[in-house]
Subunit: 194 residues, 4 copies
Amino acid sequence: MGSTPQQRRGNTRQRIQDVALELFAEQGYEKTSLREIAERLEVTKAALYYHFKTKEDILVSIFEDLNRPVEELLAWGREQPRTLETKKEILVRYSAALGAAAPLFRFMQENQAAVRDLSIGKTVKERVMGLVDLFMEPDASLADQVRCSTALFTMHAGMFTIKDLEGDPEEKRKAVLEVAFELVTRAHGAESAG
Amino acid sequence: MGSTPQQRRGNTRQRIQDVALELFAEQGYEKTSLREIAERLEVTKAALYYHFKTKEDILVSIFEDLNRPVEELLAWGREQPRTLETKKEILVRYSAALGAAAPLFRFMQENQAAVRDLSIGKTVKERVMGLVDLFMEPDASLADQVRCSTALFTMHAGMFTIKDLEGDPEEKRKAVLEVAFELVTRAHGAESAG
Amino acid sequence: MGSTPQQRRGNTRQRIQDVALELFAEQGYEKTSLREIAERLEVTKAALYYHFKTKEDILVSIFEDLNRPVEELLAWGREQPRTLETKKEILVRYSAALGAAAPLFRFMQENQAAVRDLSIGKTVKERVMGLVDLFMEPDASLADQVRCSTALFTMHAGMFTIKDLEGDPEEKRKAVLEVAFELVTRAHGAESAG
Amino acid sequence: MGSTPQQRRGNTRQRIQDVALELFAEQGYEKTSLREIAERLEVTKAALYYHFKTKEDILVSIFEDLNRPVEELLAWGREQPRTLETKKEILVRYSAALGAAAPLFRFMQENQAAVRDLSIGKTVKERVMGLVDLFMEPDASLADQVRCSTALFTMHAGMFTIKDLEGDPEEKRKAVLEVAFELVTRAHGAESAG
DNA sequence: AATGAATGAGAGTTCATTCAT
DNA sequence: CATGAATGAACTCTCATTCAT
């Protein structure tokens, strides 16, 4: 059963993306060869090149597809009032976005050096900085800036560091969110109170 | 005068490590070739093999040298009473250790996928988990476990994420420590108070 | 209005030949890929295969079309008396034939190695030798043989070497013809006078 | 007894150049693969890359070695008085230079398109134009310019076109020279007489 | 303490070509 | 009249590694 050659027709592009992301996340970008991807799909390397211009292009296409929700979140966040409620809502939504594209974000977390040198590097950096900006008050102290960065980072780390902790995944996600809330709340309160 | 060939004699091993670490941190482990290292040192690739058995061995030797303080910190921490004071002292010392070997830790942070597959991967993971254990109370809640992980992670992130923030490096280090303190304190207080 | 898809209908074959020749002349036969040809025509590679059996077949078809006048000139020449007047007339007609299919002859001049290995190679060589034979007296001295070859070659060279010289193209063509006349005349005179 | 591996040591670079030139001249630059060169030498492709940076670099190195006499001839020619005697002497010397590096010049003649796109293309063109300049009087008529170009071109053609004519090679070389003399003499006389 | 010469394996990429639709 | 999808073979080039000297 499964996927006969006939059934596969027309979704090869998608299947390449799926397998590639799986392998990129598992082994890293550099260590994953196109031969490996092709073999796992039972097509030839040349078939990959029918669908994508380069190896990098495979990653770019994955990124563009899966990163869109984050992009939208960023746009949404920029139009909201800078309240604590908004910030919490952003964290909740971000957590959902990360969960929905976990392999991609795990990959980016674990291959920062590789990603930095790729064409998506610039975008990734801008996205992260854009999000941190949504949490940060204009005149935030250094410690508060660290708190906001850390809040975001905690969630990224939650993708894979925390996965070694035992416990129900959903509860872990909540725990991560709780700590992120805490950090952002503190950073928020400090300014509005000060 | 700089370093004439004569002066260099006998410290080639050290120079290889320095250049290798620099390049590993800059470009990643996989993307750095032995040719590149050799060229920058103006020796041949074969010379590298006189001093090190393999490419991986170069990294291992760097890691063994620069990770020693962390190893010692871990040993020390395990003999201390599990007080909040101890935990804070560990954070202070860890911060110093990270600062002293910044390129290595930046490298490990940005190349987690590569490191994981190398022989040092297991050790690195144990080291991190060992440190987190020093902060964690035996019956800590999930949220507290996240707090402790995050405290450590905040410091790693401080190596490179925070470097984009403006401000005096020393003050940034303090700000990072402050947030880490906060997280560990909360995790500590929750248990002893509960 | 240019060439809308509708207008293009039915002359795709011709358009392929045009674009292919243009690229072959520009970049050489080997360096020109079918992908490139197809892209420039905004059709798929498979479309090329609807009209031509192979890449080589494209070139063959171009050659067969554009070389016909030379073929006819050769046949005509063979039926004429071997006078100096005839020889000059052949040169004049050959010059016109070259001018009318300049890109093809430039291509052949600049890609002799490639042409030689293709199926047209044999024909091309026979054509050139056939023409030289029309100039050459049966018992011509070696120097006269060289003169006749050179006369023809001068005209080929005129396609592209001389194009770096400044001056009106039409005048250059005449200058080339003049020199070719000279060479053929000398070779002719030597024999008839000797 | 032929070339045992021991005997080969130390002249591999030279042998690569020899075999490469042979194949380039035989089949063209593009159609000659590094695999082919390596196989004929019974070394691996990687060995070629120990001695040369790229495929193109192999050709460049051959060109630099074998083109030197032409370079020197050009320099010499520029310091001589612009007499007919000088021009003839240049032709004689050029003929010798071409004969000494026949495979290279045959290659360049038959692969003009490929050569043009390579890094040596510019140099080749300058060399030819430089030589033609040595023959050309400043105010030469178009026909005389063609004569001078043709004189040079005749010699290049002599490398391979004329090789189909029967006769002793040395006598053919003389015949070619004779025709070249004639062309240059006419171009020279026209000006000094005019 | 180091080099020169080489290798085997494999990388990413491109090519002309095929064929069911 | 043409496309979409794919292939097999080949390409140039780079890599970590070896070893006699």
